[in-house]
Symmetry: C2
Subunit: 366 residues, 2 copies
Amino acid sequence: MIVPAGFNLWGVHCGIKKKSLDLGVICCEDKSRAAGVFTKNANPAYSVILSKKNINHPVKAVLVNSGNANCFSHRDGLKDTTRIIAKLAGYLKVKKENILIASTGIIGRKLPKEKIIEKLPLLLENATQQSQGLKKFSRSILTTDTFEKISYAKVSFGKKEVNILGIAKGAGMICPDMATMLAFVMTDADVGSASLRKIIKEAADESFNSITIDGCMSTNDSVFLLSSRKVKLNKQETNSFSGAVKRVCLDLAKMIVRDGEGATKFVEIDVKGAASEKEAKMSGFFIANSALFKCALYGQNPNWGRIIGALGHGGIKVKDNVSIKFTSLKKRDIKITIDLKRGKFKHKVYTCDLTSQYVKINAEYS
Amino acid sequence: MIVPAGFNLWGVHCGIKKKSLDLGVICCEDKSRAAGVFTKNANPAYSVILSKKNINHPVKAVLVNSGNANCFSHRDGLKDTTRIIAKLAGYLKVKKENILIASTGIIGRKLPKEKIIEKLPLLLENATQQSQGLKKFSRSILTTDTFEKISYAKVSFGKKEVNILGIAKGAGMICPDMATMLAFVMTDADVGSASLRKIIKEAADESFNSITIDGCMSTNDSVFLLSSRKVKLNKQETNSFSGAVKRVCLDLAKMIVRDGEGATKFVEIDVKGAASEKEAKMSGFFIANSALFKCALYGQNPNWGRIIGALGHGGIKVKDNVSIKFTSLKKRDIKITIDLKRGKFKHKVYTCDLTSQYVKINAEYS
């Protein structure tokens, strides 16, 4: 597990949270490129608004804070965020368009901008490509997560090789279009900016956009694919690279589900035989977001009637020949296969159970 | 609280459940009329399919069972249900089109039709207009409910008076379009069949279709308005009557929310200032169905950021001047007022909190 060439990471405690690390940075070498996928929530965080604006500019750094969503807090939220970005850009001697930003935490609280600005020099001084940098950064982005989420892949083409390193945070509020999850995928591969966008879009669809913890969509979800452009790939190599990015993203997405708030089960819902791609995806999500069904999983109760109910709620009429199969509900990892038997489309959705512990965490969190 | 003239009720134990009452009947005098509102679930129960078919015929009886949803159980489900209806019609010397049926309980289990048919004579023999009949019937329709839900209104027009008696069951799986809830509203008023349909549709929209417990839509929801046509009302009287039916339905709907599985809070979400009727209703439901927000209510945590997140998830962009007010979260009854300040439309949605007890009930239920 190595940090790809061209990236330096660090994380510090700046005082948003009481004690733990809450501010991280990824520094990129000149000419680095980025592509991103963001929440579709109609009330996005200031951080999301600015990152969406800057994503197609060369990227010099990604600043991340945890403990505060930087969303809907006050009239000057966007101005304050711009000021933080401008400060970081100043230290790095670039334009503010070259800075990306992501936030996760509580909505509606003013981000303590002076505390953040004060720590920027320390962050930049210490940022390193070493494993210590990776460790500090991946800790600094966590909220209710119980473990750090890191995935790595290497792809070789004869003598050439490229590295892909992904770091994510998740836990609660995870849903289609990625509720509060953040993911940062770094690579030294150079594939051109259009390919970069296409690759992360496709990878996110099959991974971060195919998981749900509680059906809640966050105001802050962001996935970044950052390229330091050290190793130029041809078209065929780009395809292999794309596959590896998808694997890294799926790996991270599954870790997020495994670490779902209060979860005791990891559930793969495999929908087959759907009449359309949309039907396959919708079927998976209507089942995965049914509170009743998720409680049944917690109770190790193969209540397939709740699958029929959930599909019907989604407007999906099921025929008598539908096939529903469960692996043992006693195990932690469960697979449920639903064959609608009316077409050739399929989709996999990943989710967890709904537990008393989830309620406890979210009743007390604030 | 009286049973309106023209109706006789009873409830017995037929053996679907272990011990408690599980089969009820409402017998109607000749020429009685019905109007209904049913679930929009694409996989409706056999009972719903047949009641929808029969609803515009004169009604002679409504048969209700609890403990079994009579839904998606086997290939002959519809045939079995028709057979039960035909038997009851035989005893009453009417056509099977004059019988309505409703079911609530577990999906996917075969309804024990012989057990039901065997008890039909006993049911019919005992059916009475007395309070004992009311008590037996309202108990026979319960599942996880912790209390019986009955509401009554009387409207007088000079010497004329009409009675409205509503009986409902609810508890879990309650959501827009009425998840597993059943309601039976009886009246001696005669208002014409078109008015009857209009009145129950409007009343259901503001009551049963404006509540949500867990966002799950049942395969079985049914609301019946039954008229024994004893007292003919003119147009103006019909308006007053319509208002009273709405009050009875809202009263029952609120009882269902109060008895939500595991609920410790009764929450009225009052959305104002919306740009359209749809926006007002959607805003209420996106908030009321947010698992995160419902957990916050349980924790007595006025986490309004989760309201912003939930509205955004629903595609509802909120302006800085939005106003969100909570009454004290320490009390059992809470009112949350959201003024979107961009139009004149409003809607009220009623819900409860999401608690560890809800998870426990639904993990174990089967």
